[in-house]
Each structure stands twice: as structure tokens, then as C-alpha cells.
């Protein structure tokens, strides 16, 4: 057996152990998150019954509200509520959303897909654009492209994302008339047609991507610029390798390391951005209902969305860590 194959096999078993360890860690993390959500919700001074009544709270008597709270069982002690929720969860029942007036599973089923689509598409755009732009800027560090890119990035970063959204609507929907101003499908459409949805998602995905781009671009640029001065990159340059090979093969690969951790940490950030983008473009995603749930102390919905995001993010973190290890042989898999 040759040495490289043995090394590769060791890495593979290392990866297996890493995944197993992570799964072991994930379970308590998920418990902690859902319990934390319940505790936070219980500490919150908001009365979900009043939230449920909405404007009718003005004409609803205290007894009426108390009866509704009793029906929901939300005056029970927190551990009782949590255990009840957990028991139902194990039976596959995610509970009843008090702020949406429907089963939590239905809320997720109807909305999670759109948010995932929005966030996923934006993430792909962000990754491709930031790798390309960041590397190019780093290559000609201090050049006009680098300076223009950095200026734009800082400027975009300082503009609230809903502002970007409104400006994009004003430009592309109102003035130019190229793209629809909001909604998921044409307002008169009778079915959900793929091309129609895609056309409606161009602006929201674009705005979300652009609003999240600065962090990614600046970090890629800095990392690649730093690694361009690394010994092994300088050595590659000295060996006379072509500039493109050095840039994308050596410098980018080294510069990718801190970037990989960044993707995982930025997923929730993207979801946060999606909340505002969904509002601006009136998209029926998860963002708006999650805010509503937070404002209305809707434990079951909050716990479910938090759990869902946590699972996605933990999976993403595992993926980036594995990629990290693959990209940097100095990192040992434990």
C-alpha cells in the first residue's frame, strides 16, 4: 500500500468519526435550542391571547381572553408545556400555532419551501459572485477595480436591505417595467407556473444577494490578498506558474479557509435578510410568520422554526468543516 492511499483512508475514517461526533453533539444542541425558545417565550411579557384577538382585543372581555388561554393550556407551568410539546413532537405532531391559527406543520409546509428557495438561490449567487469578484480584486490589490469594489461593498453594507428592495422595485418594476414588483406569481395567475415564479424571484433573490454580498466579497478579497503573499504562493509564483493557476489554484484555495467558516455563520444572517426581503416583496415565506410568532409568544411555531433552522445550520456547519479539512491539510479531523 502506498503512502498517499493510506493517508486518504485515514482521512475518510476521520470524516466518519467527525460526522458521528457531530450527530452526538447535535441532539443536546437541539434540546437546548427548543428549551431555550420556550424559556425565552415564557419570560416574554407578551400575552398571546391578546395577540390572537388582534384589533378585537379592544372589544373582548378579560374572561373571554382567560377562557381562550385556558383552552390553549398556556397558563400551565413551563416544564409541563415543554414536555407536552416534546411528547407530541415524538408522535410527529408539531403542535398548534396560536399566532397563525393553524397546525405548525401546515405553516411550515406552506411556507418553508419558498424561504428555502429564496435563501438557497441567493446563497448560490452570493458564493459565485463573491468568489469571482473577491479574487479579481485581490489580484490587482489597490487597483481601480479593487477600490471601486470595496467602495461599493461598504456603501451597500450601509444601506438597509429594505431600502435596496424599494429602490430595485422603483427602478426595475416601475420605471423600466422589466420585472414584477412583488408577489410570487402574477396576481391573476391561477396556478403556480415555474417560469412565472422564477420571474417574480429575480428581484428578491438579487436584492437579498446584493445586500449580503459585501461581507463575503470583502473577506474573500482579504483572504486571497493575504495568501497571495503566503510562502507557498510566492513559491508557486517563483516557479513561474501562470498567474491564473497561482491565483485560483493556490491563493484562492488558501484564502477559502476563513471563508468556509463564514458561510455557516452567515446562513442565519441570510434568513434574517430574507425576513425583510419577504416583507418588501410580499412573499409568503417563513420570515414574516416567524417575526409574528416572536411578537406573539407563539411557542410551538417558534420552537419549530428554530429547530428547523438549527438543523439546517448544523448540517451546513458540518459540511463547511469537512470542506475546511479537505482544503487545509493542516487541520486534523477529530
Amino acid at each position: 500500500m502506498t503512502a498517499p492511499t493510506r493517508a486518504r483512508r485515514r482521512r475518510r475514517t476521520g470524516a466518519g468519526r467527525m460526522i458521528r461526533n457531530r450527530l452526538l453533539v447535535a441532539v443536546p444542541v437541539l434540546f437546548a435550542t427548543s428549551a431555550g425558545m420556550f424559556a425565552l417565550g415564557a419570560a416574554s411579557p407578551i400575552d398571546p391571547a391578546q395577540q390572537y384577538a388582534g384589533a378585537a382585543a379592544f372589544t373582548t372581555s378579560e374572561e373571554n381572553l382567560a377562557q381562550i388561554r385556558a383552552n390553549w393550556g398556556i397558563d400551565d407551568p413551563l416544564p409541563v408545556q415543554y414536555l407536552r410539546w416534546l411528547g407530541n413532537l415524538l408522535r410527529g405532531d408539531l403542535g398548534w400555532s396560536t399566532s397563525r391559527h393553524e397546525p405548525v406543520a401546515d405553516v411550515l409546509a406552506a411556507r418553508a419551501g419558498w424561504t428555502l428557495l429564496l435563501v438557497g438561490a441567493a446563497l448560490v449567487v452570493v458564493l459565485l459572485a463573491s468568489l469571482l469578484l473577491g479574487t479579481l480584486a485581490a489580484y490587482r490589490r489597490g487597483g481601480w477595480f479593487d477600490r471601486a469594489l470595496r467602495t461599493t461593498a461598504y456603501a451597500i453594507q450601509s444601506v438597509p436591505s429594505f431600502w435596496l428592495g424599494l429602490a430595485a422595485i422603483a427602478l426595475f418594476a416601475l420605471s423600466l417595467g422589466w420585472l414584477p414588483a412583488g408577489g410570487l406569481t402574477d396576481i391573476t395567475a391561477t396556478s403556480t407556473d415555474v417560469a412565472d415564479v422564477a420571474r417574480h424571484l429575480i428581484l428578491p433573490v438579487g436584492v437579498l444577494a446584493v445586500s449580503q454580498l459585501p461581507w463575503f466579497v470583502l473577506f474573500i478579497r482579504d483572504s486571497v490578498a493575504d495568501s497571495l503573499r503566503d510562502d507557498h504562493v510566492l513559491a508557486a509564483r517563483a516557479r513561474g506558474l501562470p498567474g491564473r493557476t497561482v491565483l485560483f489554484g493556490h491563493a484562492l484555495r488558501t484564502g477559502l479557509l476563513p471563508f468556509l467558516t463564514l458561510i455557516g455563520t452567515h446562513l442565519p444572517e441570510l434568513v434574517g435578510g430574507a425576513v425583510l426581503v419577504e416583507t418588501v416583496f410580499s412573499l409568503p415565506g417563513l420570515g414574516a410568520v416567524t417575526v409574528q410568532a416572536a411578537l406573539g409568544s407563539d411557542f410551538p411555531l417558534l420552537a419549530a422554526t428554530t429547530l428547523a433552522t438549527t438543523v439546517v445550520v448544523l448540517a451546513a456547519n458540518l459540511g463547511t468543516d469537512l470542506a475546511y479539512a479537505a482544503a487545509d491539510p493542516r487541520v486534523r479531523l477529530e
Binding site: 456603501a155 453594507q157 470583502l218 445550520v313 448544523l314
Partner: protein, 289 residues
Amino acid sequence: MTAAVLTRVRRLPRLRPGRLGATVAGTVLAVAVLACLLAPVLWPLDQSAIDLSQTRLAPSAAHPAGTDDLGRDVLLRSIYGLRVSLLVGVFAALVAAVIGGAVGALAGTLGGWVDRILMRLVDTIAAMPHLLLGIFIVAMLRPSLGAVVLSVGLTHWLSTARIVRSELLSLRHRPFIDAAVSGGAGRMRVLTRHLLPHVLPRLALATTLMIPHAVWHETALSFLGLGLPPHLASLGNMINDGRGSLLAGAWWASLTPGLVLIVVTLALAALTAHWRDHLDPRVRAELQL
């Protein structure tokens, strides 16, 4: 006269590029900070005062940036808004930098089980959208200046912690650290003399980038009705209020606070970039090549 100005303008770029940007940025920041400090003395503002006979006046000598929906001077409120927003931004970024820097440094230098536990903690908190956590914190503490600072600070230290840690991790195996350790340097000494100077620029960059982000967060909270009480002047509140005026033709009500925000953010960013270039000897070496 014109020719002279032109020559001078043409000569400017020949200065060291970093220097000019930093000078402009420094001047902008100095003016902004000075205005913020002096405003309460020179131009006192009653935050709850309105004048319904002076609504939506276009910019003029009396109101250099016009008036808003309720007849309030947009420029003066922008200055007060900048005061509040900078306060929120700086304090929130500091809170985040302290927590994030400490956690990242602990994890990155001690390693082992400390690292693992801390990073799992970071993972757990990082898995929830910041905005949502922020909403929770503000909802529980009730909207106020302190609540917004805490809401932003407590949700934004995670990336800083990760950056500091990963930077430390990648430095750990660099030859010069090995050299320092084999030279007999203690853990503290390696950290403060060798690791910190390398990590600081990135920490500083992360902190600076966090200031506009903190302001953004404040705006988003205002957008949801959970920011500072909406009649107080903050850039976030003003941009939000101005959105309605925009469609009604009073563009100045939203443009002025927006421009103040962008210009100050750019100046801050330029200054940090300059500071970093200054810190890192290898960059200077590259510039001279």
C-alpha cells in the same frame, strides 16, 4: 485660477493613495463627531416638537435639508440621529468585540475541550437568525436605547469569535510561531506579542464592519416597530419615516439621513483600511515593490 485648481487636482492622486483617502475620511469623521458633540450645545432640539404649518418644505436657507412630514428640520434631526445611531453602533460593536474576541481567543489558544464547548455554544446561538433573537431581546427588555444596544451586541459577537479563533488556528502552525515557542516564549507572550498583532487587524475590521451593521439592525428593528421609540431621531427611524415622503415627492426627508449614514460608514471603513495597512508591515513591503 481654473488652471491652477486643475493642476492641483491633477497632482493630488500622486500623493500616496492611502494617505488621501484617510485624510478625507478622517476629516469627514471629525466633522461628524464634532457635530454630534456640539449639536446639543449649539442647536438644542426638542425631540417631541413638531410644526404642522411647516410640513414637507423643500431645502432652503432656513432648512438646508428641508422639513419632514411633521415640519421638523431634517438636517438637525439627521445630526441627532447620527448621534444616536453612532452611539448604538459603537457600543453594540464594542459589546460584540469584547465578547467575541474573548471567546475566540480562549477557544483558539487553549483549544481542546474548551474550544469544543465554546464552539458548540457559538454554533447553537449562531443557528438562530440574529434578527429574530434581537427581536426577542428587545421585546423582553421593551424598546429603548439600551435594549437596542444589547440586542445588537449580544447577537453579533459570534462571527467575531469565529474569525478570531480561525485566524489563531491557522497561525498556530506558522513557522514564526513555532520559532517563538521553541525559543521558549510563554503562552501569554506568544499570544500578546505574536498572535495578537496578526489577529487585531481582522478583529478591528470585523468591529468596524459591525458598526454599520448595528445601525442596519437598529433600522430593521424600527421597521418592525421595535427599535427606538419612533418619535426620537435616529437614522433608522428617519429613513423609515421618510419612505412615505419619498412616494409623495419629498425625497429629502429620506435622502439626507441615508446619505449621512452612507458617508459616515464609508469614512469609517476607509479609516480602518488605512489603519490596517499601516499596521501590517508586509503590506507596506508590497506597496514598495
